[in-house]
Amino acid sequence: MAERNGQDDHSRQKPEASRERDDERLRARLNTLSSALDAQNVADKAAEAAKREPVRILPGSIGNAMSLAVRVLSEFVAAVLVGAVIGWWIDRAAGTSPAFLIVFLLMGAAAGFWNVYRIAMKPPNPEG
């Protein structure tokens, strides 16, 4: 009986242990991959910096600026829309026609500004 229990314990532990081993293996793989990537990135950045000095306006920078603009606009509009939908939904369920719509529209606008603020406050990454 005791042996049975022990076996049971063992078989229960096994998936746990193998998952841990998998995690360990994944971590090791990630380590080698990321150290190789880091080295590559440093080399890439140096090469890019050397290339970038003479030419200020790259074709990519217009794309970056545009994607940032589209992102800011869509994040703001989306927050307002989500707020409006939530407010309209509560109103329809509770029968308090414009009250919640107005409140959540304002909150959506606040959330939109918050989204934009968050984009603007991020350290300027090359990804924009």
């Binding site: 991959l33 990321s34 990537l37 994607s67 994040e75 959506g108 989204n115």
Partner: protein
């Protein structure tokens, strides 16, 4: 409708069933959208499989394309998510390649652009957000909810700020899907309208000398659409990384 007005700019987005399937009353027909999704997946898989076959030290065209795509996404994921973010690399890479190929193949004449359907982009965005929520809850437990509680704020302001944070979070899938869909839809409509101008001017007697103008515009717009197609796939991928990063490290 197509017979009535061949220059209708919306006509290109109509979904037509190829094989009609209605199991259990659900419309699961194999449509032109499904067909092009299969084509997109096959094309992306072919690029990666054929590109990585030779494993040459000096890569050929396909191999360097495959390697470029891999390295581009890998560095993007690493930059946004850091070390722990790399476990999402397969997901982000799949998503990026799918959206990129949808956008690019949709630009070819006579094709159907899948990413101009809000249903498709919405499903992709919901997939991303579901993974963020599920992984965040499994990985961090209740700590994931710290995402909605800004740190260093007086308690009195919490009832106001927490709903704002929740709305802000809910707006993510909306903005993610609408951005991609709107960009592709607007671009394709613009191209179609410009092409329509060429056709109508050619049939307008003396005014047909003006026809090269919208034709030149179409060429410029096609190049611009190429930029938008790649850019939007990139933006979709990078924002996926940013949102997944929130799941790995909640609380800003």
């Amino acid at each position: 409708m197509a017979e009535e007005n061949p220059m209708d700019p919306i006509h290109q987005f109509v979904i037509k069933p190829i094989v009609s399937l209605h199991p259990l009353g659900i419309d699961a027909s194999f449509t032109n959208a499904s067909l092009f999704m299969v084509i997109v997946v096959l094309a992306a898989a072919a690029l990666m499989l054929i590109g990585t076959q030779s494993k040459a030290l000096i890569p050929g065209r396909l191999q360097s394309l495959a390697e470029m795509a891999y390295q581009f996404v890998a560095s993007t994921v690493h930059m946004a998510g850091g070390h722990d973010g790399m476990r999402f690399f397969p997901f982000v890479f799949t998503l990026f390649m799918f959206v990129l190929f949808c956008n690019l193949i949709g630009l070819l004449p006579y094709t159907f652009s899948i990413t101009s359907q809000i249903m498709v982009t919405g499903a992709l965005a919901m997939l991303v957000i579901s993974i963020v929520v599920v992984y965040g809850l499994i990985h961090n437990g209740k700590g994931f909810l710290k995402l909605f509680v800004p740190s260093g704020v007086p308690v009195a302001l919490m009832p106001l700020l927490v709903p704002i944070e929740i709305i802000s979070f809910l707006s993510r899938p909306v903005s993610l899907s609408v951005r991609l869909f709107a960009n592709m839809l607007a671009g394709h409509i613009t191209l179609q309208v410009m092409g329509g101008f060429v056709v109508s001017l050619l049939g307008a007697g003396l005014f047909s000398i003006l026809a090269p103008l919208p034709f030149a515009m179409t060429i410029v717009l096609t190049a611009f659409e190429l930029l938008v197609a790649v850019l939007q796939a990139y933006v979709f991928a990078i924002l996926t990384c940013v949102y997944l990063n929130d799941a790995v490290h909640p609380g800003h």
